[in-house]
Amino acid sequence: MMTVPSKLQSVNLNLWYGAFWALKGVSMAIRPQAITAIIGPSGCGKSTLLRCFNRMNDLTRSVRTDGQVLLDGQDIYASGYELTRLRKRVGMVFQRPNPFPLNVFDNVAYGPRVHGVRDRRTLERIVESSLKATALWEALQNRLDRPALALSAEQQQRLCISRLLAVEPEVLLMDEPCSALDPVATQHIEELMRELMQRYTIVIVTHNMQQAARISDETGFMLLGELVEFGTTKTIFTNPRDKRTEEYVTGRYG
């Protein structure tokens, strides 16, 4: 029952760090306008997989990949595929909030400027709408010239999401975006993700199973570089097919 085509899809994706085989033939199809969670114990390759989706692993030495990653049906690992354009379309939010040591405005305007927007009016408009999308505008509209590093951790992480939205991406990759936040801030970011889901395709890596269960529509469970099971979140958490998945989601190891 093929309802919608996948936004993003890995096809038999393998990755090696030197001699270490980190991803073993991972095939996963990610639905648009939904949240897909990737769970699994530390070192299972979930972050590595996430970083394949916008080729951030290219920055790491001695990484070798084969297989395909299709974005709207086009292989992003094909030779000649433009990396700057790819990363504009597929952006990433990292574990720790990591705003640049610039003021709020320049942080959000960084992406548009890199892509050639010079006009002050246009930049102001983009900054405003990006901050509104993460519910930061109210709090920060009069403090746009304040250093971003002076904000609270939650605000910093929201700012990082705004900074990403400012380049108008289609896919948001989130690598444990709440692991440095307190429970209240985590709840706020999760609510934000549910809102953003209406307009973006979101893939989140998390080691917090409750979080995956709460917010995601589909979940993939990874173990030792393999995608053990992939399905709707409900199925994975209530009626998994694989014994290893069941053991993990019921907390028997990991």
Binding site: M56, R87, G91, G111, L149, V167
Partner: protein
């Protein structure tokens, strides 16, 4: 056990305090020594007039101008070259034999006595390239001398920039050059600035290398090909040839005060810069 440990701790504290105090004391003594002898002779005329009868009378105005020209031009040359080299070494290559050779070369250059740079500058810039003793020859020589410092301090500063900034910048679709210019250099600016200020201080106070390359003319320079005399060299000539110890100490005081001034100004600018981003 315990009394001995306490005892050792006390001895350690005393020794460390004494040594630290001694260092500061010597520094203050030297600065005080120069200022006490030099300050009384610094007048408005001394700062704004040209020297007369070899510097026995008059002031040091052309010498101040000469110092600014030589040291300033040296930094204008060595600054960009050094910072770009550091960017190349840290951001554009992976550690290899070539980068190891460049680093080793820079470290060796840093250890060479300045008179050797002076000799090289004299043979190469002054004679071989026919520049004559001049601002240009002096500045080029000094720039070679301070280049290793600028490269290594910039490199350290760039390395200290968190890797995550690079990830984020790439993640937003920037090119490597955009990432370097907009994020890395900005974050590393305090460290890079410190290296450049140190080098400026060294250029201003250098004597041996400029003696052989910038000459010792007392006239106000008209172009980069004119010979000038720097403050440090002026001090050396005045005292060594017994022309005037009063003027020599006054010159030394101007030199010490300007270096103190530059360092304080730089410190203040860095503090403001850091305060603006954190």
């Amino acid at each position: 056990m315990r009394p001995i440990a306490v005892h050792t701790q006390r001895i350690a504290t005393t020794v460390l305090w004494t040594l630290a105090g001694l260092t500061i004391g010597v520094l203050l003594f030297i600065i005080g020594f120069v200022l006490v002898r030099g300050l009384p002779h610094i007048t408005l005329e001394f700062l704004t007039a040209a020297p007369r009868s070899m510097g026995r009378e008059g002031g040091v105005f052309p010498i101040i101008v000469g110092t600014i020209c030589v040291a300033g031009l040296a930094i204008l040359i060595a600054g960009p070259v050094g910072v770009l080299t550091a960017i190349y070494l840290t951001e554009y290559t992976r550690p290899s034999r070539l980068t190891a050779v460049i680093r080793f070369g820079a470290d060796c250059l840093a250890g060479i006595p300045s008179i050797i740079f002076g000799l090289f500058g004299f043979v190469f810039f002054v004679i071989r390239l026919g520049m004559g003793p001049s601002i240009l020859a002096g500045a080029l020589t000094l720039s070679l001398m301070v280049l290793p410092t600028i490269i290594r301090t910039s490199e350290e500063a760039i390395r200290a920039v968190p890797l995550s900034y690079r990830d984020v910048s790439y993640g937003l679709g920037s090119t490597r050059w955009q990432m370097v210019m907009r994020v890395v250099i900005r974050s590393a600016l305090p460290g890079i600035g410190t290296g450049i200020i140190l080098s400026l201080g060294r250029s201003i106070s250098e004597t041996a290398a400029v003696m052989l390359t910038a000459g010792s003319a007392l006239n106000l320079p008209r172009s980069a090909y004119d010979s000038v005399r720097t403050l440090a060299l002026h001090f050396y000539i005045l005292s060594r040839e017994g022309i005037s110890m009063e003027k020599a100490y006054a010159t030394a005081a101007v030199l010490v005060l300007s270096i103190l001034g530059i360092n304080l100004l730089a410190y203040w600018i860095m503090r403001r810069f850091i305060a603006r981003v954190t």
